[in-house]
Amino acid sequence: MLGEGIIQGLVETARNFFGSYVEKDRLTTVQYPEERLTLPEASRNFPFLLYDGSDPEAGLRCVACQICEKECPPRCIHIEKSKDKKPDFVGKQQAYPAVFDIDVAVCMSCQICVEVCPFDAIRMDKVFELSTSDRFGGLLWTKEQLSKPNAYYQKIHPMEAAETDERREKELAEAHVKAAAAAAKAAQAEPMSQKQGHGAPAAVQAAKSTTAVHE
C-alpha cells in the first residue's frame, strides 16, 4: 500500500527519538574534552626520541647515523651530526645529534624511521592534541621537544617497550661479557708482556680504555 513504508520509517525514527532519552547506550557520542576513550596500544602518529636515565642530553640513544633522515619518504627529519663524541649505553664512543628536528606538519606517520633505526632511538608517540597558533615554528619540533624518557615509552606502548628493553639488556650483557673477556685477556697479557719486555700491543690498550669507560 502506498504510504506504508513512510509510516514504518516514521515509527523507526520515533523509536530512536524517544529511545535516546531512555536508553543511554543508544548515544554513542563521546563528549570529547570531558570524556576520553583510551587509545588502542598499537595507535601511533608522530615519532619521538628516546633517552635512558634522567638526563636527555647524556642518555639520548640517537647516534646521528642519519638513516632515518635518508629513509624518510616526505623528508621531514633534519639531523646535524655533532663534532665530538659521547659514550652510548654499552660504553662505546658515538656521535650524537647536535640538531634533530622533525616537521610534524610534513610527517605522514609512516613509521619507516622507527623500522630502520638500528639503535632503538626513535619510536612513535600517541599525542594528538597538537594544535598551535604558529603553524611553522609550532609544528617544527626540536631535539628538546622530541626527547622523552624510556619510562614514557613503557607507559604508552608496554608490549613493544618490553621487547625492546629485553633486547637491549641482552646486548648490554653481551657487551659486559665481551668487556670482561677483553679485560681477562689483558690481565693475562700483562704478565706476559712484562716477561717479554715492553711490547704492549694496541689491543690491550683498547681493552683497558673500554673497561675504564664502563666502570
Partner: protein, 402 residues
Amino acid sequence: MISAGAVDQVFVTLKDWIVMRTPAPLQTLVSIVIEVATIIVVFAALFALTTVFERKGLGRMQNRYGPNRVGPCGVLQPIADAVKSLIKEDVVPRAADHVVHYLAPLVLVGVVFLTYAVLPVGRNMTAVNLDAGVLYFFAVGAATELAVFMAGWSSHNKYSLLGAMRAIAQMVSYEIPLILSSVAVIMIAGTLSTVKIVEQQGRFSGGIAHWYVFTPWGLAGFILFMIAATAETNRSPFDLPEGESEIIAGYFIEYSGFKFALFFLAEYLEMFAVSGLGITLFLGGWSSPVSFLAWIPSWLWFFGKLLALIFAFIWVRGTVPRLRMDQLMNFAWKFMLPMTLVVILSAGIWHFLTVAVVGPKPLGGVIRWLVCAVVILAPYITLARGLERGRRIEKRVYRFAE
C-alpha cells in the same frame, strides 16, 4: 481571580490600552505598528527556537546529542549562530546582478511576513480580517517563487540557476494541490475569510469541536495539504532546490553572511505560515478540540498546534530521504492532483448528505462519514496500485560502463 476570558484577551487588551493613550490622529498607525512588530518579533523568536529544536530533534532521531555546548543544553545556540552570520563577510560574485542579488532575500522575507497578516493566532488576534483571506495568503505566498528565481538568476551561477529552476518547477506543481485541498474547506465553510473559517470550526456538538480534520474529506485534505506544504516550503523530502549533495545549496549558493541567514529565516517563516494556514483551515485555528478544554487561552492553542506541526516537519525530515526530480513530478501530477480533486468531490457529497437524505443524527452521521470515506479510499487504493505497478525492481543495466 482573573477570568479565563481576560487571560484569553490579554494581548488584545494590552494593545487597546496602548492605542488609547496615543493622540487620536496617530491611533491607526500605532495600532498597525504594534501588530506588525509583534508578528515580526514573535515569529522570528519562534524561528530561533525552531533551529535549535530541529537540530536537537534530528540528532536524537539519529541517536546523537545535537548542539549542547552553547548555554545550558545548547539553548543559546541560535544566538551564537546569529552572531556568526552577522560578522561573516558578505561576498557578492563579480558577475552577479548586484541590485537583484541584494533585493532577493529582502523580497523573500518581506513577502513571507506579509502572509502572516491574515493568520488568526487567537480570538480577535488577526492583524487584518480580509474577506478574501485565504486567497490573499496564496496570492502573496506565490510571490516567494519570484524571490527564489531572483536569487537564482542574479547569482550568475549554474548551480543557483539549476536550483531556482527546480524550485519554480516544484513550487508551481505543488501550489495546485495546496490550493485545491483548501478549496474543499472553502466550499464547506462558504467563506474565504480565515477568521470566519475558524469560527465555524469552533462550535461544539456533543463536546467535540467541528474541526474539518474530523471529517473524512478533511483528514485526507489535511494530509494532502501538509504534503503539498512540505514541497511548497522546500523542506525535506522535497528539498531538491537546495539539494546539498547535488547542487550544493541551490538558489542561495552565492549568498553568505546575513543574506544567507535571511534565506534561512524566510524558509522557516514560510513553514510556520503554511502550517498556520493548515491549522486555520483544518485544525480549527485557535479553538480547542473538546469543550471542557475551552478555558485554555486561544493563542496557546494556536501555538501549541503550530509547535506540533513543526515537530511533524522535523520528524518527516529525519525520516524520508530526498526524492528524485521525476519522482517529485510524478507524485505531484499523478497522485496529489487527482487525490485533491477526489477530496473536493467527497466534500461536495458531505455537503449534500444532509439529515434529510441519510436520516437522523447518530446513524445518519455514521452513514455520511462512511460514504465520504469510501469516496476517498477507493480512488486512493486504485491510484496507489497504478503507481506501484509501473515500478518494478530489477537489476540495473549500465549501457556504457560494462
